[in-house]
Symmetry: D2
Subunit: 141 residues, 4 copies
């Protein structure tokens, strides 16, 4: 089974549907098992103490689940997050890109479930984990 | 029991510790049971279809839990989120402020647990719910 | 708006659909906002150190969400849990019944979302919180 | 790095600390990355429609996280669950054992985080996922 959209196409699609965050994320790999994404870090992502903010990590996990789901169903901008859980486990390093490894757990008619591990680039241990559930809009006929 | 910081002081403190998001949030009430916060919406918070983005809702819930926790322990910028769960239940209205009602469930020596309901201003039914766990840094002696 | 099944009817229905746990739970109140349930504790619910087991608390929260949902849609045994989050906040007392206060947050065509606070009977502070999402089977026509 | 307790020792320890559920679970593998556990299914685990109950799946995930944590810290019966999230994704098969694959994500001084995938024995796709956080009691000195 193959994905319905390539990593290159997905990067272009993200710029169109999320113009506010253009250039903030890069899909490095997208296949039927999930995706790998990269998010460069700058001052705007930091919190007191030099740590990366929770919303930054949420955002990357959320986009990685969206990209994983689009790989299965093709471009459907209106898929929306319906639920999530996150555990923040280690302090990410301010000077390293944030990397997401997303794994598709379920793709059904009406929803998808994706597990995501977040890493500071080049490090072995995950800084956070997340599970994201997306609601898939009914296909027009 | 009273809170260790007033809503007015908390608003000033947020501007100092989170300069990147200055003016994005307002504490309307802060007491020992929790807080009420307001987040004005603009184009930057929107997603395809005119809905408010998941990261926007996460951010408000996260800040409301932080403010609730600060009310208990006083200004300690280094408290960090360790875990959360969110359910997105209804489409928020793009033209209305997002309002958080936060309720303190537990304040211990090392962590706090806060429940948050998010509303579109003026509406009865919540658009999302969240639970946020914060880790509290040990007191210096 | 009223519920589609009374607390008395619900207690009888629970005994029929969950014969394995007959007499384990009692619905004390059921209305359109949610329900209150009681679960008597005995040795089988305890863990090392005299605390009540996590599965016991999960079970009560799960049943309270089921009862709350049935109050909205009527008897439909096939509703199933699709997701949940729990935070265990305080040690319940072994000698006190476990009480659930469930609040309906959303009832849609295909799912319900219910928040639950668990208490040791007679105590002010919750021992645990949970959110349960139930999938509602499509209505036969 | 090796675990502080073998699968065989862990099986014996479970029977001692959880006598109520003796024989309900079997540790098949326990190493520094996590564990594999097996839970035979019988009538007591079923719900209307022949599905395995949510509490049954919660219980197996909870024990698998406990076993994974014990592998790291040695026998400490008083470790307790502090939080969890679960997604129930597919209907488990009533006639097949339930299998847990647990992966350790973090072991710190005061808590552990474990991801668990649950399967119907012999099937490829997980029926549920869970993340369990355990609080580790301070070492006596």
């Amino acid at each position: 089974m193959t994905v319905k959209i390539s990593a290159t196409e997905m990067n272009a699609f993200l710029d169109v549907v999320f113009p506010q965050i253009k250039g903030a994320f890069f899909v490095e790999r997208l296949d039927e098992t999930g995706c790998v994404m990269r998010m460069p870090m700058d001052e705007s992502h930091l919190r007191p103490g030099g740590t990366i903010s929770g919303p930054t990590m949420f955002t990357l996990a959320d986009v990685a689940a969206y990209v994983t789901t689009m790989g299965q169903i093709g471009k459907q901008a209106l898929a929306v997050t319906t639920g999530c859980s996150l555990d923040f486990m280690r302090k990410p390093e301010a000077g390293r890109d944030l990397i997401a490894h997303a794994t598709l757990l379920k793709i059904g008619k009406s929803l998808s479930v994706t597990d995501i591990l977040l890493y500071s680039d080049g490090k072995q241990e995950p800084v956070a984990r997340a599970t994201m559930t997306y609601s898939i809009p009914p296909t027009r006929s």
